[in-house]
């Protein structure tokens, strides 16, 4: 039994050896880690009087002439710490945000492209050409889902222990002031500054060692190999250990402008109110009626959302009538039909209330106790709503 087993095992082992030899050598994407010693040793073989002599291994400096394996000495040097980061701005167009919003984010990807683990302090820089200033700016580290959703995003000021070649998504979130208006923009840059790794928390700021001086042969020196590639941004001077990339579409000529980043999309509502006397006690209903006691006056309130604006929802308007007038609470029909709403030229709707059963407009209006109110209007860009009501002069 035992002999048979052995006989079977031999071909299996041979096969394994062949496969191992045939496997292609996988090239590592990682750079050689800092602190690694690169050693070199050459060998010279030669003949004297046509007799092969024992080979001689090399040595650094003056060299070696003692023949024999293992009698040479490696020529060595140490791989230093290459500090390098790439930051990619992932938004190809302006990110639309809204007055009062802090739910939108600029996406950046930070990757340690050096050969040593580092911490990276993060800062969001505001483009001087901004047209709105956020009430606050926060940087979040994505937890892995690649979506800014507050589920796995953690507010950070630095990336801790960033391993080499491991991209990390980072979100720059600006809280837009409620007063921001349509078309305002702010572009942000993400700045990453290298710090020493080691343990939780931000390590000491990395500094180049032996600048302009020979390498410390026995120690790992820190070498800044930075620049975001274009080298045109003022904050992006080469070899300062600071890496800056602007969000959106960074201008190639080095000027900064709101070509990337956040763009505020606000509603552009205009409200106009006009009045017309439509009847008086003398002439009755007439275009020539005068504003005398007992005359009926119709008010027209027009709400318009400008072209290119964000859709305004839940638009509501209230108006208190003058003390010298009385509301005509049934001007457009029986019951509570004191108000009409004409949405975007679609025809006036009287008694516009979702609850009154007269129409299904969704608008809710009331005209009681000297005050009118209309709510539930949604206005897309370029749309308008015309609201009418009537009063009589006391």
């Amino acid at each position: 039994m035992k002999t048979k087993m052995r006989l079977r095992l031999v071909p299996v082992l041979l096969l394994a050896a062949v496969i191992a030899l045939m496997l292609p050598q996988k090239a590592s994407a990682l750079g050689t880690a800092s602190g690694v010693t690169i050693a070199n040793k050459a060998t010279i073989g030669y003949q004297v009087n046509l007799i092969p002599q024992t080979a001689i291994e090399s040595a650094p400096g003056a060299g070696n002439s003692t023949p024999g394996v293992g009698l040479g000495t490696n020529t060595t040097f140490l791989v230093d710490d290459k500090v390098s980061v790439t930051i990619a701005a992932n938004d190809v167009a302006m990110v639309t945000t809204y007055p009062g919003s802090s739910a939108q984010a600029l996406k950046f990807t930070v990757e340690n492209t050096g050969n040593t683990v580092h911490d990276f302090a993060l800062t969001a820089l505001l483009d001087p050409a901004n047209t709105f200033v956020a009430t606050s700016v926060t940087i979040y580290r994505d937890g892995g889902d690649g979506v800014y959703d507050g589920v796995d995003d953690v507010a950070v000021t630095f990336l801790d222990e960033m391993a080499v070649d491991t991209p990390q998504v980072v979100w720059v979130v600006a809280a837009v002031p409620i007063g921001a208006t349509n078309g305002q923009a702010a572009n942000y840059a993400l700045k990453a500054e290298a710090h020493a790794a080691g343990g939780a928390g931000l390590g000491a700021l990395s500094a180049q060692t032996n600048v302009g001086a020979p390498d410390n042969a026995a120690a790992v020196d820190v070498v800044f190999a930075d620049g975001d590639g274009d080298g045109v941004q003022a904050n992006d001077a080469n070899y300062d250990g600071v890496f800056v990339v602007w969000g959106g579409n960074e201008l190639p000529d080095g000027t900064v402008g709101p070509t990337g980043g956040f763009m505020v999309s606000g509603a552009l509502l205009t409200v106009t109110k006009t009045s017309a006397v439509i009847a008086d006690p003398v002439l009755g209903p007439s275009v020539n009626a005068k504003a005398i006691p007992g005359a009926t006056v119709e008010y027209t309130v027009t709400i318009t959302n400008g072209a290119g604006a964000a859709t305004a929802t839940s638009v509501a308007i209230t108006d208190t009538i003058d003390a010298n007038t009385l509301g005509v609470y049934n001007a457009y029909g029986a019951g509570p039909d004191g108000v009409t709403v004409n949405f975007n030229g679609g025809g006036a709707l009287a008694g516009t209330s979702a609850s009154d059963g007269v129409d299904a407009s969704g608008y809710n209006s009331s005209f009681v106790a000297g005050s009118i109110s209309v709510s539930g209007i949604t206005l897309a860009a370029g749309q308008n709503a015309v609201i009418k009501y009537q009063v009589t002069i006391k």
């Binding site: 750079g31 050689t32 690169i38 070199n40 060998t43 073989g45 003949q47 002599q53 400096g61 290459k82």
Partner: protein, 166 residues
């Protein structure tokens, strides 16, 4: 059988003694190896110039090119013939194509750890797809220079190559 075994052991021992005695003697050739990098320095006149410095005394990071040089010298009293310098491509580095060529020496490479050597264009490796393809500089594991001329006593020369730190 036992006697034969002892005999063999004794012979091996003697051979070992001989080998170690020989090793202590100086050979006819001296081989010195150095690793260097080219750095740009600003000289006293404010001009930029490239200086070749010892890699151990320079900052070397991944992507940098290192120049490995092997200087040989005939330190014996006889002419040396068929000198062959072999240098494995150091670990963590990749050979830079066409940097080992030198006048007066035939350059060959190995892609199998130094077992078989051949001219650059003759070498094949198994690619990622399992098919054979011509070897590239990155596939070389060893470099071998065969010095064509005999070295008279006192004659010197050197061979070198460049490799990039991975």
């Amino acid at each position: 059988m036992k006697n034969a075994g002892r005999c063999l052991a004794a012979i091996t021992l003697i051979l070992l003694f001989c080998a170690s005695a020989m090793a202590l003697e100086k050979g006819a050739v001296k081989l010195a190896s150095r690793s260097e990098v080219d750095v740009v320095v600003v000289n006293a006149r404010g001009e930029k110039e490239v200086k070749r410095v010892d890699a151990a005394k320079a900052k070397v990071v991944p992507g940098d090119t290192v120049i490995f040089t092997n200087a040989y010298e005939n330190v014996g009293g006889e002419a040396v013939k068929n000198a062959v310098v072999t240098n494995p491509v150091p670990e963590h580095t990749v050979y830079v194509d066409k940097t080992a060529e030198v006048k007066g020496a035939r350059v060959e490479f190995s892609v199998d750890g130094g077992k078989i050597y051949g001219l650059a264009q003759s070498l094949m490796v198994v690619g990622a797809d399992g098919k054979a393809r011509p070897a590239e500089a990155a596939d070389y594991t060893h470099i071998r220079w065969t010095i064509e001329k005999a070295l008279a006593p006192g004659a010197k020369g050197s061979v070198s190559f460049k490799a990039k730190v991975k």
